[in-house]
Symmetry: C2
Subunit: 327 residues, 2 copies
């Protein structure tokens, strides 16, 4: 990618919209963010995004090559329509066409987690690597897979739902229709649920965690569990250990199935418990097939919250390059 | 591939070596098989393979384009060396070079399960499909993944070890270092183990199965469990139901992670219990993410025991074509 090139990346999530102007080295030149307002329907939200993109463009002398939008939802295989985005309450919104018409720039749509994977791959912990997996462990768990130098899309463009691999077939129900998914054991919501259940089951051991939550005027969240574990709370420590076990089990499966060179861990749970990466590393090396671990590195993500906008912008630059190459 | 083209496929397994002359439509023109004799070392076995290949060649007027060899072991990333084949007791055998020297034909090496996936993809249940997974459930469980029209190899050429995805993190130990692998619950050896344990734990309910084994002069095997289940034995029926549950859990993970269009089931356990495919299909549709199931078809493999030789031969033809295109 050309260093002097730039593109705009949009990270369209259920609570926030982030917009950034990104150069060809993955550096953010300028950015803005706003709350996601879904209450007035898709048209109003598209208008707000358009305005934010235009604001960024006006402030720069170099014109962006295009706009990449990472959406917390399912993108149609043709890359033109947001088929379903539950947090935005969107169904079949033809976002690409709408944005292209008003912005007069090529627009690339991608799932938000896959956008973040693009970001880590091209400009983060995955630089220069042809076989990698990003696993983002936040409230939910999602991921992206690059194999043989190509991002896997799958047959209906939903590949990479790594949080919904079964790791405990007798395990607790997930938010999806399955049970014992990796997310149902190690996602932020599941950590919080397990902690609340543990406190209810053993009020004495759970008292410090309950008090910590009350003192801070919050309920028991994954973040609180992480802080309590770091402060030496035994119950929180146990929950974190169980979370690590689930992540090891899931990661072993990923390593054996995909044989990546790098496994990159990001997301809020990892940010709150960065020691998990080392712990998973040790566990995986003892349990995954030796031949699959030969070149394996486990690494924390590098771009943190910016992976999505950077990856979306990078995708827009690549699409533009590709178009140039095709014509 | 050219219909008039042909190539030789070799399926080099721990107990049998199969050799076949295959035409460009995947049809076997002629084949032979022999026991795998490992006791005299790699040189002797390579000589036997060479002889079998030469015999097939002599009987045909059309010269084969090349030889593909599917090996029950790990092939080096460069495709030239068998790094480790435990059942053959081979370590770092430079098979490609050795065979090319004596045969004077291009030779392609591939893992045996991946060869079978090539076979199903090009000439079996995967014909015309760009996104598919083959899951071979035999004594062990292995697979191959085609995504976006390309076979996944992974960073050290071991991608597709789908039997070693964790599906029950509290489950029984596997033959690998992990526990609760799909193979440790649904592979032939695991079915036999569970059945023997169930018979020991409940001799009364287990009596018919034990008697059936004794009558036939064999121990309790997965095949025997399948036959007993079909004959209405309740204990065998329970073991089969548990096997189906494990396969559903593993398949849900595969569907969510890879989003294939076709999932193709083969191997001895499926051949013995063909109704499993329908059962897994029903289970998966209720539990995998809806968006990932949109285009999904679950199918039995079509090439049965020939998938390996056909796939290996196909790979040899493709390599030859590719070379032609490159030069």
């Amino acid at each position: 990618m050309d260093k002097d090139q730039c593109a705009i990346g949009v990270d369209l999530g259920g609570t926030k919209v982030k917009v950034a102007l990104v150069d060809g080295t993955g550096k953010i030149l300028r950015k803005s963010r706003m709350a996601t307002r879904t209450e007035n329907g898709p048209d109003a939200l598209v208008q707000e995004i358009t305005r934010a993109v235009c604001d960024l463009r006006q402030e720069e002398s170099v014109g962006p090559a295009g706009v990449g939008v990472g959406v917390a939802g399912q993108i149609a295989t043709n890359g033109e329509t947001v088929r379903l985005a539950p947090n935005l309450d969107w169904h079949d919104v033809e976002l690409k066409d709408r944005l292209e018409q008003v912005l007069d720039l090529p627009v690339a749509l991608v799932n938000d987690v896959r956008a973040a994977t693009w970001g880590e791959w091209l400009f983060g912990a995955g630089r220069g690597c042809d076989d990698l997996i990003c696993l983002f462990v936040g409230t939910g768990i999602g991921g992206g897979v690059v194999s043989g130098g190509r991002m896997l899309n799958g047959s209906s463009n939903t590949a990479g739902e790594l949080g919904h691999m079964t790791v405990d077939l007798h395990g607790p129900p997930c938010n999806c229709e399955n049970r014992g998914c990796l997310e149902a054991l190690a996602g932020g919501w599941a950590i919080a649920r397990r902690a609340r259940e543990a406190v209810a089951a053993d009020p004495r051991t759970g008292a410090p965690l309950k008090k910590l939550a009350a003192d801070q005027g919050e309920s028991i969240t994954a973040e609180l569990v992480a802080r309590a574990a770091h402060a030496g709370d035994p119950l929180a420590g146990r929950i974190v250990a169980e979370t690590a076990e689930a992540l090891i089990a899931g990661t072993v499966g990923l390593v054996n199935a995909f044989n990546p060179q790098r496994l990159i861990f990001g997301g809020g749970v990892i940010e709150g418990l960065p020691e998990l990466v080392e712990r998973i590393d040790q566990g995986v090396r003892g349990r995954a097939l030796k031949a699959a671990c030969e070149n394996l590195e486990l690494l924390p993500a590098e771009l943190h919250n910016d992976a999505g906008v950077v990856g979306a912008a990078a995708l827009a630059m690549r699409c533009d390059e590709k178009k140039g190459a095709d014509s």
